[in-house]
């Protein structure tokens, strides 16, 4: 098989109201590593899913070595020599590494039985050539993530994939594993493979890729070759250079410490330490913004603060161990953690507040108070359509977010943690939630906002802490900083 270069021309894709991809042009030459970078929701995964046949574009064409091809399914993609390592590994856990490698491309003898011996031999020699050595007879669930990833890559090589798409491949790896992984990637590219790397980590882009395509909100905003690429240009392309919106009047906060965090360390689901001994405090009435490229420990930090993830170190509210009723939490993933889709608006309002006296008395729910309270929130937060009994899924994302915000911000809390509070909202709803957060802070509560929107952080917070690889690379006064500076800290440049 020859080496294959990829071109994607004028690719557009809509999901409902959202234009996920807008006339995107993308090229990946053979023998090179091409990176696709951008924030979550920028459309990079969608673009790659189209290349791998998992999703069909509305318009646009795909060319392999200059020839237009139709890719309607993953089997089509595999036939064209395209292989993908998904962000969440696609391994059948109870099966051995060997079995996982051959699924879907089992070669059988005349008897109908799989030719175990010759296949094993073939995979062994493949491992030797690429240096990706693994034990073939272990169940994949018993293997560490780094090895599982090797299996995924061998899977592609076994199918003789010429184009390797890797979606956030380093998210689950330790720094040592990352280095090893990159050196195998370089080897593969040198052997003529087309390697496409989806990532939002700038270090990775700079250290391995030959060229970079930057996506933002479904559009290509820049393409660079590695010679012309510096950390600064990439950082500014990623953070964007938007005109500042008006800064709201921020009330001065008191000097009294409300939240005190000392030497906090948190591990992720895979057991990798992602928050590395950070300490900070938030004062009464203060809004602390947390910036950072996604995947630098934000989720785990937020979960530890909310008391839903184990941690080492100390978290204290007003000098005492926090209990969850003190904390109001607007989660980043509304559908997963903020609401129950099958419930009505008022039932969703009750979630997590069902123990409050006014809603429950004598072992039963006081629906009359709940209805009244829901109507109050609907009015205060301008929820539309204004019916407490309608299903929450009948509301737009923005209105759902208002319901969640209404529920959380009316809670009798001392600490408010808001993750991506305005993601996907229009200007009015965004403005509204911003105002609410400022009002709540002025009630001598502490507010933490985790956001990928730097405008939002500059506008709302008193101080901005920048998370980089699980530590704060800086804690800045937001009146004395700007997006460019934050961008540099986010990428570890400063």
């Amino acid at each position: 098989m020859t080496d294959i270069s990829v071109e994607m021309i004028g690719i557009s894709k809509r999901f409902g109201k959202i234009q996920a991809l807008d006339k995107v042009n993308f090229a990946a030459p053979s023998g090179e590593i091409t990176s696709v970078v951008g924030e979550n929701g920028a459309g990079k995964s969608t673009l790659m899913k189209i290349l791998y046949g998992m999703s069909k574009p509305d318009t646009g064409e795909i060319r392999l070595n200059g020839k237009t091809v139709k890719i309607n399914s993953t089997s089509d993609a595999i036939k064209h020599g395209i292989g993908m390592v998904h962000q969440h590994f696609m391994l059948a856990d109870g099966l051995t590494a060997f079995e996982n490698i051959i699924i879907g491309d089992e070669r059988t003898g005349k008897s109908g039985l799989i030719k175990f011996k010759s296949l094993r031999h073939e995979i062994r020699s493949l491992m030797k050539v690429t240096g990706l050595e693994i034990d073939l007879d272990v169940r994949t669930e018993d293997l560490p993530v780094g090895v599982q990833q090797k299996i995924e890559i061998i899977k592609l090589l076994y199918r003789d994939s010429r184009i390797l798409i890797l979606d956030e491949p380093t998210a689950v790896l330790t720094p040592q594993e990352v280095n090893e992984f990159f050196s195998s990637l370089r080897k593969l590219a040198e052997s003529g493979k087309t390697v496409i790397l989806i990532t939002h980590k700038i270090d990775e882009v700079l250290s391995v890729s030959n060229s970079v395509t930057v996506l933002k909100r479904g559009k290509v905003i820049a393409s660079y070759s590695s010679e012309s690429l510096t950390r600064e240009t990439l950082a500014s392309a990623l953070s964007g250079e938007k005109i500042h919106t008006t800064r709201l009047e921020k009330k001065n906060h008191s000097c009294e410490v409300l939240l005190d965090v000392k030497d906090l360390s948190v591990t992720n689901d895979r057991g990798v330490t992602v928050i590395n001994g950070i300490s900070f405090e938030v004062k009464k009435g203060e809004i602390l913004g947390i910036a950072g490229v996604e995947g630098n420990g934000q989720t785990e930090l937020m979960e530890a603060l909310c008391g839903i993830r184990k941690y080492q170190g100390e978290i204290k509210i007003n000098g005492e161990k926090p209990n969850t009723s003190q904390i109001a939490h607007i989660p980043a993933d509304r559908l997963k953690e903020g609401i129950v889709k099958e419930f009505s608006v008022e039932e969703n309002i009750l979630l997590g507040r069902h123990r409050e006296r006014k809603f429950s008395e004598h072992y039963r729910i006081n629906f009359r108070t709940l209805r009244k309270f829901t109507k109050f929130i609907i009015e205060e937060y301008d929820v539309n359509p204004p019916y407490p009994e309608s299903l929450i899924t009948g509301l737009s994302g923005g209105n759902q977010q208002k319901v969640v915000a209404g529920r959380e911000l009316t809670k009798d809390s001392t600490l408010i943690i808001a993750s991506q509070p305005t993601r996907g909202l229009d200007i009015n709803a965004t403005e509204f939630i911003h105002n609410r957060l400022i009002i709540e802070a002025s009630k001598a509560k502490a507010v933490i906002i985790i956001s990928s929107d730097l405008d939002e952080l500059l506008k709302l917070s008193h101080r901005i802490a920048v998370l980089y690889r699980g530590s704060f690379s800086a804690i800045l006064e937001s009146s004395e900083t700007n997006e460019q500076e934050i961008g540099l800290y986010m990428t570890g440049l400063k």
């Binding site: 993953t74 696609m90 391994l91 059948a92 099966l95 051959i102 699924i103 109908g112 039985l113 799989i114």
Partner: protein, 290 residues
């Protein structure tokens, strides 16, 4: 105790084992692919009835077994449709089909034989005049075939992949729907043959004659850790228990005590006291292609 070890006793245990073994092997195929088939009980029952009814009319043993197989395929096809295409709850579908089979067989029994409780007597495998029970070597062959298919063939590997992680199988171009469908059909086929054998042994159909054997077959599959050979071992043990319960009927050990042993063992296995029973990871979860 000497009489226990005679050839006659071995044959008796085998005969008790077969109505567990065939559906249990079927269950392995269904669940390895990720679909729980609790409808085995109803499938066995309908297999038993179909065999008896067709043999009654045609006096042909072979046609009776074909009819049983056909009924098993039909019910499992319905189960496949409900669980794979409509993605409904697999347990609920299975229970509904069991109740349906119980009712339909009863009704048809009344229509054909004039009694809802039992059929007329039909000839059994003895008419073949082979001098041995043909189902015994047949079942042994099926057992080893099942093992080879599941662990050594392309279909088996894909089946197991679908039961562990259907998304992974799908991403590699495997048609998850087709594979799971095949697994359920095989389970229906084997369970109905088990039911037919039961009816041939007893020379008639009686209302609810499977008496929970489909469930015990599932229990055997769990005890055998979703492995055909393990399931067979468990079935043999359960068959042995049943033989004992016949042997000891009338003695001081209560019959019911021996009959309950399979269930007690299943609970112990499920609770993790005898090694860890690890079901296929996606067992019981519908697959949705995005």
């Amino acid at each position: 105790m000497n009489e226990i070890l005679t050839l006659a006793f071995v044959v008796q245990v085998s005969r008790m084992t077969i109505p567990y073994l065939l559906p249990s092997l079927g269950a392995v195929f269904s669940e390895k692919g990720g679909v729980i088939n609790i409808a085995l009980e109803g499938i066995m029952l309908s297999g038993a009835f179909a065999a008896v009814a067709v043999i009654h009319y045609t006096s042909n043993l072979f046609l009776g077994i074909i009819a049983a197989a056909f009924s098993g395929l039909l019910i499992s096809a319905v189960h496949s449709f409900i669980t794979i295409i409509a993605r409904a709850n697999q347990i609920v579908s299975g229970i509904a089909l069991n109740i349906l089979a119980l009712g339909i067989t009863k009704y048809l029994c009344k229509v054909i034989f004039g009694s809802s409780s039992n059929s007329e007597r039909i000839p059994g495998t003895e008419v073949l005049n082979l001098g041995f029970d043909v189902f015994i070597p047949f079942s042994v062959i099926i057992l080893f075939l099942a093992w080879i298919i599941i662990y050594k063939t392309k279909f088996g590997l894909r089946l197991r992949a679908c039961g562990e992680n259907p998304e992974a199988a799908d991403s590699l171009g495997v048609n998850v729907f087709r594979i799971r469908f095949s697994g359920i059909l095989i389970s229906g086929l084997l369970a109905s043959l088990g039911g037919a054998y039961l009816a041939l042994e007893q020379h008639s159909f009686t209302d609810g004659m499977t008496a929970g054997r489909g469930y015990i077959a599932l229990a055997a599959m769990i005890t055998g850790k979703w492995n055909p050979l393990g399931a067979a071992t468990a079935c043999m043990f359960f068959g042995l228990m049943e033989s004992f319960s016949l042997q000891f009927s009338g003695s001081e050990i209560p019959n019911q005590f021996i009959q309950m042993i399979p269930y007690v063992i299943t609970i112990i296995v499920l609770a993790g006291f005898i090694g860890k029973a690890r079901p296929p990871k996606a067992d019981g979860i519908a697959f949705e292609k995005n």
